[in-house]
Symmetry: C2
Subunit: 201 residues, 2 copies
DNA sequence: GCAATTGTTGTCACTCAGTGTCAACCACGC
DNA sequence: GCGTGGTTGACACTGAGTGACAACAATTGC
């Protein structure tokens, strides 16, 4: 394990994403073809698809592995903490990916690319829905542990989760629109405080 | 105005969507090509694209004109009604499109097609985001009329709107998962009651 | 009525994302 | 050294979506 193959594969993947991001920021997402990216890193078009199944994954692929972090983060929260508070807490695991130190060079521009391209934004929202599905099962788990399981067909856990993730996106949009003024964490605090459901579960 | 051209255009559009929906429900969205739809209605592939710019619009196109209804609906609400209540009220304009009388024949199956296909679901979420943008401007309007405009960069209106639309999707998912038991309106009531933000604006 | 205009359709050719296949190559275990 | 399996390039293919052009039908002005 972890021989040359693993390492070169990792390195090639990095090289591709970096070249792709540069092109996306420079001339736009739609205007950049996979061929452009392939020639930029000096390989065949076919091979790019062997590293990233779709063009969207070149931008949003790293989001997938964040799901596990969210799960671990939620399980680490105190059992009887209000749900809304637990959700706010696990979102802190996403904050560094949004509000990074180099934000003006890569992070924020790439987020603008995502939010301005319908296809990418769509893919982003769907990935968040996947995260929500996982969180919903966690809420069911916790409720069952308290001997207060949700009735079958009860939309409550989904609704609370969707509301929280809605706040996440809203905060991100507002923060980007403000020219990344202040920290993203405070924007998220404001957004989630503005909703703050009464049913804390 | 309203000559033969307008009417036939309307009729042809209907014919295409009906043929498309039937194929989508029957053999699935991905498995149905535009060619299949074109031959089903006896026209060229190219012409289908002259009626519907994308394949997704064959399913979700009608959602676009609902935005105006939402705007009118919101403006018709009492000025000092709590925001959450106003949002719940305008969602009633969407209810008939989800929970129709023929639900077991076309409506519910098509919703399952949308929710089970990542591309369609993505497009659905983006269209909802568009609706949200409009609603957010309405919230700003109302706040300004009360001489309590939101500070610039405040994520509050976005957050509350996103939370409400999150409840909408959550309710729809829960309702479909339950085999469309009960009415969708009650599922939506439960979902929105479960969140019910304290800040009513 | 008829001509000029405008909308609709079919056909062809094209771009680009994504997939399947095959042969050549290179790291790895033995 | 040698077979195994992962990596790569090359080629061919499907399917969504676009642009251009010619043929035809509907509309408008006269």
């Amino acid at each position: 394990m972890s021989g040359i193959r693993e390492r070169t594969r990792q390195a090639v993947a990095r090289e591709i994403t970096e070249a792709a991001n540069a092109l996306f920021i420079d001339r736009g997402y739609e205007a950049t073809t996979i061929d452009d990216i392939a020639t930029a890193v000096g390989m065949s078009r076919r091979n790019v698809f062997r590293y990233f199944p779709t063009k969207e994954d070149l931008v949003l692929g790293k989001l997938d592995y964040l799901v596990e972090e969210l799960v671990d983060g939620f399980r680490a929260r105190p059992e009887n903490e209000p749900v809304w508070q637990s959700l706010r807490a696990i979102f802190d695991l996403l904050v560094p990916h949004i509000d990074t130190l180099d934000k003006d060079f890569v992070a924020a521009p790439m987020q603008r690319v995502v939010f301005s391209n319908p296809n990418l934004f769509a893919s982003y929202l769907v990935k968040q829905q996947r995260m929500q599905e996982v969180v919903v099962t966690l809420l069911h788990e916790r409720a069952a542990d308290h001997d207060r399981p949700y009735p079958t067909g009860d939309p409550t856990p989904r609704a609370v989760t969707a509301a929280a993730f809605g706040c996440l996106v809203a905060a991100q949009q507002a923060w980007l629109e403000s020219g990344t003024a202040g920290t993203f964490a405070t924007a998220l605090d404001e957004a989630m405080a503005a909703v703050a459901p009464q049913a804390h579960g």
